[in-house]
């Protein structure tokens, strides 16, 4: 969540307006950075001892454990920033395991010369996102690299969550006949970041969909839905999620193109740039594969923006393909992009 930058940065900017090599040296400057920036912002009793690691209380259930690194450029974009992304990315990966996210670590690699106020803004945003997602940052690390050897801030977060369901959530549980639900419109995050990075101006403001997904997943599980598989639609977008699940499960899928909502601004941007909205990144969207007879209940639990976008088919003699029924009533297959999506010439 980007909010107005009101809080005064606790390290006086006139002392050290930028990150110095000494901030990673383990001496007094490192201590200053921790005590004046990280501690007050992430304040909690598990972090407070500043021990080599956090000692966590026992949790009642299986644990999910994940890690992710965040290198997005630019650091700030419409609808989010590197900080909110670093929290939500790991929170969402835990949620996709069916877990309730609990504790996160945060590792920072800072580039010498980074304005302290940018670090402060990112860290503040992490704290807001953690609060919104109901997780605590309980341990961390900071390193500083020479100017030119980093890109402002790189963040790694790892996280653990507790699995409070007995369901096995993953491609192995997907069955023919399962219904595929999507929790909202797609493509906003990728286009928002690209617009900011490349200085593209579109008529409509496109904001990232960056959001924690722990709550909607908990709603499904608490509502008693027999969730078979969950996947968030980050890099590679809806395309990668569908193709990967289909391949892992060994089952074909059919998707109704018209059921997948894409904002007009995102569609327009994709048309201009020659991108495929299905393959553009999201940070607050996921698909849930559930038995057909629970589809309506699941859709209701996910809220008004959710929709049924397709079904899992019975395995045939062919390798599993994800087939898209187009608005014209024709069919095409959905395939992974071979690398980064590149804007077309004309």
């Amino acid at each position: 969540m980007i909010e107005e930058f009101v809080l005064q940065c606790p390290i006086p900017l006139d002392d050290n307006p930028t990150v110095q090599m000494g901030h990673g040296g383990g001496g007094r400057m490192t201590r200053d950075l921790i005590e004046r920036i990280f501690l007050p912002v992430f304040s909690n009793d598990l972090l407070a001892p500043l021990h080599d690691g956090a000692i966590l209380p026992p949790v009642g259930g299986r644990l999910a454990f994940t890690t992710d690194s965040f290198v997005v450029r630019p650091m700030f974009f419409r609808g989010g920033d590197l900080g909110s992304l670093a929290i939500n990315g790991t929170v969402n990966d835990l949620a996709m395991c069916g877990a309730r996210p609990l504790y996160l670590s945060a590792g920072f690699i800072l580039e010498e010369g980074l304005p302290i106020k940018d670090l402060w803004r990112v860290v503040r945003s992490m704290a807001d996102a953690a609060l919104a997602a109901g997780v605590r940052v309980v341990t961390g690390d900071t390193k500083v690299v020479d100017k030119g050897h980093g890109d402002g801030i790189f963040i790694n977060t790892a996280g653990v969550g507790v699995i409070e369901t007995s369901l096995t959530i993953g491609p192995m549980s997907v069955r023919p006949g399962d219904v595929i639900l999507l929790n909202g419109d797609i493509g906003r995050h990728g286009i928002a970041v690209m617009a900011e990075r490349e200085g593209l101006e579109f008529e409509s403001d496109i904001a990232s969909d960056c959001a924690p997904l722990a709550a909607p997943v908990r709603a499904l599980l608490a509502g008693g839905v027999q969730v078979h598989c969950l996947r968030d639609l980050t890099r590679g977008g809806l395309t990668s999620a569908l193709v990967e699940i289909s391949e892992s499960a060994g089952l074909p899928m059919t998707i109704d193109e018209e059921a997948v909502r894409v904002q007009d601004g995102v569609r327009g941007a994709c048309e201009i740039l020659g991108l495929e909205p299905f393959s553009v990144a999201n940070e607050g969207r996921f698909i849930a594969l559930v038995p057909a007879n629970e589809a309506e209940a699941a859709r209701a639990l996910l809220g008004a923006d959710a929709s049924v976008i397709g079904t899992v088919e019975t395995a045939g003699s062919q390798p599993p393909f994800v087939k898209v029924r187009t608005s014209l009533g024709t069919a095409r297959i959905l395939d992974l992009p071979s690398g980064e999506q590149l804007p077309r010439i004309c």
Partner: protein, 377 residues
């Protein structure tokens, strides 16, 4: 979405498909010239709406695909030099040269940047007076005005650290090369709407007359293409060979005159090599003598470079409509978008990549087991 949804309407598409079926009495082979049209045809499965007598062939209108290997090698050679900022449209970066592509140059430390307009490259030159800024100016008549504008502006402003590596191509000479080939199967053309928006369509009229072939200037949305096919089939069935304008919401007969003037000012018509096809006389644009100082090939002395294509790649035959992508032995096996042998597999507008992306399952359908010793019919 306005100006988009109305051209993707399913009911109207069915009406057009039905109209095409009604007027078709015999087999016809029609080529869509532009890669953007090929992309739309496979993305929306437009060919599957057509009666079986109509075959669509995919033409040479993908700028990425027809840019010769030499030019890519020249680009790689220039981009790898210190003190150069090399700017290009995004989809040229993954096109393999003989040894490597521009992405690899970038990962090896070259300053390679994606720009969305050639004028952005001029701005980069303004901001980096101590660097040489080079723009890879490829494409058809569609991209020529903007590329001409970039060079024109650089000259006007006296920006001397800017140059362009030019490999511009022209559509009508390529259509004529296809028509005059003894292997030609094309009976009607859907001409490229964007190219005609710039150039108009008077230069297609002599082609239609000389080769007695209908040419329909066609847009890029599903309904545009269906309507283009309808108009083309109707001409074929009635024995007419005229230039018709389906894309009248964008194209006028005389085209965009100021854009054409700018092209004539900065460029001159030259013979040009097309990747996979070979040299076609008067089929390209090079810098006019007054702008020769902006020629990157000369400035960096890479103009004598020569390169050989991979012998297994049949992209030349695909680009001329003689073969379909699946007829290539390497298609989907040795040649994929991740490891392309030829350019038609690289660009999303390339026929091979489009078939791989949307139609691969048709080629991977297991063939019925061959009976021992028996001949297949």
């Amino acid at each position: 979405m306005k100006y988009l949804d109305e051209y993707r309407d399913a009911a109207t598409a069915r009406t057009y498909a039905e109209a095409i079926r009604r007027v078709t009495t015999r087999p016809w082979t029609i080529m869509e010239v532009c890669g953007g049209q090929t992309h739309a045809i496979v993305r929306f499965g437009i060919d599957t709406l057509l009666p079986p007598q109509i075959s669509l062939l995919h033409g040479p209108g993908c700028p990425v695909c027809v840019t010769p290997l030499e030019v890519l090698d020249q680009a790689v050679s220039i981009a790898a030099r210190p003190n150069v900022i090399f700017c290009s449209f995004g989809d040229m970066l993954r096109v393999p040269g003989s040894q490597r592509d521009l992405f690899q140059v970038k990962s090896d430390g070259g300053d390679v940047r994606i720009v969305y307009s050639p004028v952005d490259a001029v701005q980069i030159a303004r901001e980096n007076p101590d660097k040489e800024v080079v723009f890879l100016a490829v494409g058809f008549e569609t991209t020529a005005p903007a590329n001409a504008m970039a060079v024109h502006r650089a000259k006007e402003e006296g920006i001397t650290n800017f140059s362009v590596l030019v490999s511009h191509v022209l559509v009508p000479p390529a259509m004529e090369a296809i028509l005059s080939s003894r292997l030609n199967r094309v009976q009607g053309f859907l001409a490229a709407g964007h190219v005609c928006t710039v150039m108009g369509y008077t230069e297609y009229e002599p082609l239609a007359r000389r080769y007695h072939i209908p040419i329909v200037v066609t847009g890029f949305e599903p309904l545009d293409i269906l309507q283009g096919v309808y108009l083309c089939v109707r001409q074929l069935e009635e024995g007419r060979a005229e230039v018709e304008n389906q894309y009248s919401r964008s194209v006028r007969r005389e085209g965009n005159q100021p854009a054409q003037e700018l092209i004539r000012e900065v460029f001159t018509v030259v013979p040009r090599k097309w990747r996979g096809i070979g040299e076609i006389p008067a089929s390209g644009l090079g810098l006019a003598p007054a702008y020769a100082a902006f020629d990157a090939a000369r400035r960096f002395q890479v103009d004598s470079h020569h390169a050989e294509e991979n012998p297994e790649c049949i992209s030349g035959l695909v680009l001329q409509g003689i073969k379909k992508p699946q007829e290539c032995t390497a298609f989907g096996t040795k040649c994929t978008p991740t490891h392309p042998l030829g350019a038609t597999m690289v660009s999303s507008e390339g026929a091979c990549a489009a078939y791989y992306k949307y139609r691969r399952h048709e080629t991977t359908t297991p063939s019925p087991p061959a009976t021992a010793g028996g001949a297949t019919p």
